[in-house]
């Protein structure tokens, strides 16, 4: 077994080369961003994109931060993304549990209805959706964006979870039922722990989607105090599109917290993803 995964010296060198090549692909754009964000004016960026900044101008970051009100945007993005993750993981896992483990007459039909959502994007139905959100008085609120964002993730989440749950053997469940366990208990004690890797995948998908979403907040938010980072960065772009060194600084500021958060959580993240992961 070990032999398969062990590498001899020469193989190790080759593998390292390939790995480093991809690292370069991933990191060079970041490097270029850092290099150019420190330049004093756009002329230097234009004339020598890979030249060293002269003089090194850290104040670009301060200027970008002040101009772009990033703190408020960041808080809004965090609220939207985290709430969506909680909502989606809860609603999708309970729904998928019933659909996959406790089928009843009509459950396949409900599953098909969810599949409709996988195929047709909600953005298409913006006008009717807008009417509903407005009717509920949720326009220009973070809650409105959270609900719409979560609902848009539901089809894919349910789809993934159902296919996971179908693959779990029924032994444990049967035994628990013998003991008189009810669906709540079976869901919480047996199924949920078993599909944790899939839940992690869905949480990650939802978080990234919510964090990156530009369109839905654009439609459903009006006040700038509710804006998430994506709208904030666009604002910033309107102001500084022509000033490349400032754009680079703004982009880095926006990425910074995400990258730090990711570095801190990466161990759990990757562990959750790779532990068991996709079942046969």
């Amino acid at each position: 077994m070990d032999k398969i995964f062990k590498l001899n010296k020469r193989e190790q060198m080759v593998v390292q080369l390939i790995m480093l090549a991809w690292v370069v692909v991933v990191l060079v754009p970041f490097g270029a961003a850092v290099l150019n964000a420190l330049k004093p004016n756009v002329g230097q960026v234009f004339r020598e994109p890979f030249g060293l900044p002269d003089p090194v101008t850290w104040s670009n970051f301060a200027k970008a931060w002040v101009n772009a009100n990033f703190a408020q945007y960041f808080l809004n993005s965090a609220i939207i993304s985290i709430s969506s993750v909680i909502l989606v993981t809860f609603c999708a896992s309970t729904t998928a549990f019933v659909l996959a483990r406790m089928p009843f007459r009509g459950s396949t039909f409900i599953f098909m209805l969810f599949l409709v959502g996988v195929i047709i994007p909600i953005r298409l139905a913006l006008a009717p959706l807008f009417d509903i959100v407005r009717g509920l008085g949720l326009l220009d609120t973070l809650l409105g964006v959270i609900l719409v964002q979560s609902a848009s993730m539901m089809p894919v989440a349910v789809f993934i979870l159902v296919s996971f749950m179908k693959n779990i053997s029924t032994e444990l469940e049967e035994a628990a039922k013998m003991d008189g366990a009810l669906p709540f208990t079976i869901y919480r004690r047996i199924i949920f722990p078993l599909v944790r890797p899939a839940i992690a995948t869905i949480a990650l998908l939802t978080f990234v989607q919510a964090w990156n979403e530009y369109f839905l907040p654009l439609i459903f938010l009006q006040s700038e105090s509710n804006y998430p980072l994506t709208l904030g960065l666009q604002r910033f772009n309107q102001q500084f599109a022509i000033q490349w060194h400032m754009m680079f600084a703004g982009i880095l500021i926006m990425m910074g917290p995400t990258i730090i958060a990711f570095m801190l959580a990466s161990k759990q993240f990757i562990a959750g993803l790779t532990q068991g992961g996709v079942k046969e």
Binding site: N41, F46, I79, L143, L218, Q222, Q238, F240, I242
Partner: protein, 417 residues
């Protein structure tokens, strides 16, 4: 956890609400939607000095998605006022939706505006739907640090191009990426400089065709600049920002652009604060610039604060506004109020617009643009293909003409291909 997040959101909203009410306790706040980021300083000043008694104007600036944003936010009746673009085609959907109404309903005195200024704000029913406030001009803009000649013919212009090219400077920078630039700026300015009033007027009335030699020759001449290497090497890779950056840095000498790029709020001065821009018509047969009423202030008749709305609209008709606009935005006001302009550029532009601009404007003409496919997308597609070397000038003309013919162009029979 969810509860915490929600209450946090509510707290943020509550806090915002509290502070905003505190700030404007005594004034009515009206929401004005615009794409004109250059007017921000003006409104800061108006609000600060309380120039419209009892009214504070909150400017909502959306440079990219203004129409979408207006459509959406109108559903909740949020915008009280909005800057509208010229032409009845732009106004029509808002009129249909009942969120635009004639200024006559407010009893506004419009005597300070000439017919040319009012034309852009007039709907297809002949009513005036807004207060025009800014005239724009499109022409060649050049960086005086690298080029300061005054060519009077196309040959002289091309000689200057050749010289600049030898110095390693891009003579003319073109943004080939943005549809709005290609049809509203580049194409229309070429028309103004090289084809002239008679032809443009006849195109509108269906008596002339795009396949006429006059038009084809003009576009061929423009295309020859690219073939000679007088344009930037990859026009389709450069967007509007890259074009203005090139001219601001002096790596490019000229561009065809609107005079808005030369106002103090233009980002070009962030790149080089000492930048000096000159402007001139394309020195073709017609040798005219392209002048038009760029925007007018329209209002939402369903606004909750219609009195405050009226006050703002009235303020837009005053001499004081015209003067402030010329001073602070450094653009040409649309009213006839005598304005004391000590800014050389504003003065020169005002003169050029009134004396030497193209009168007939296909770009704003209902019969050409309110059809499927319309003049605007046909032109921007065709121009991009021309710049990409996919089609010749004659094929561009045929592309526009056949599209218009399909859409029921009034001169379709005469101009059948």
């Amino acid at each position: 956890m969810k509860l915490i997040k929600q209450s946090l959101a509510l707290a943020t909203a509550a806090a915002t609400l509290a502070t905003s009410q505190l700030a404007f306790a005594e004034n009515t706040v009206v929401e004005l939607y615009t794409w004109r980021v250059q007017d921000e300083a003006l409104f800061d000043y108006i609000n600060e000095k309380n120039l419209i008694p009892g009214v504070q104007v909150n400017l909502n600036v959306y440079t990219e998605d203004i129409e979408s944003k207006l459509r959406i936010d109108m559903q909740t009746n949020r915008p009280d006022l909005y800057h509208a673009k010229a032409g009845s085609a732009w106004m029509q959907p808002w009129i249909d939706a009942g969120v635009a109404a004639p200024v006559a309903d407010l009893g506004l005195d419009m005597s300070a505006f000439g017919d040319a200024a009012l034309a852009g704000a007039t709907g297809s029913d002949g009513e005036v739907y807004g207060v025009p406030f800014v005239m724009q001009m499109e022409s060649i803009l050049y960086n005086k640090a690298v080029f300061d000649g005054a060519p009077t013919t196309l040959d002289e212009l091309e000689a200057a191009f050749a010289e600049l090219k030898d110095q390693g400077i891009v003579p003319m920078h073109v943004d080939g990426r943005d549809g709005w630039y290609l049809n509203q700026v580049l194409h229309e300015t070429i028309l103004a400089g090289m084809t002239g009033d008679d032809w443009a007027q006849q195109v509108v009335t269906g008596e002339a065709c795009f396949t006429d030699d006059l038009y084809v020759d003009a576009m061929e001449r423009f295309k020859s600049w690219q073939d000679e290497g007088y344009l930037n090497p990859n026009p389709l890779a450069d967007d509007y920002g890259a074009m203005r950056t090139g001219v601001a840095l002096g790596t490019s000498a000229m561009m065809i652009d609107g005079i808005w790029s030369a106002t103090p709020a233009s980002p070009m001065y962030q790149i080089d604060p000492s930048l000096e821009l000159g402007f001139m018509a394309i020195p073709g047969n017609a040798n005219k610039v392209y002048g038009f009423t760029d925007a007018h202030l329209a209002y939402n008749p369903n606004s909750d604060d219609i009195d405050a709305v009226k006050k703002v609209m009235e303020f837009y008709t005053t001499p004081m506004f015209a003067q402030l606009f010329a001073d602070m935005v450094e653009a040409v006001p649309a009213s006839n109020h005598p304005v004391d302009v000590n800014n050389e550029r504003v003065q020169a532009a005002a003169e050029m617009i009134s004396s030497n601009s193209l009168a007939a404007q296909p770009f704003f003409h209902d019969a050409l643009i309110s059809v499927d496919p319309g003049y605007r997308p046909l032109v921007s597609e065709g121009m991009q293909q021309l710049l990409a070397g996919e089609i010749t000038a004659r094929e561009l003309a045929e592309h526009i003409q056949s599209g218009l013919n399909d859409a029921g162009y009034i001169g379709a029979d005469r101009c059948a291909l």
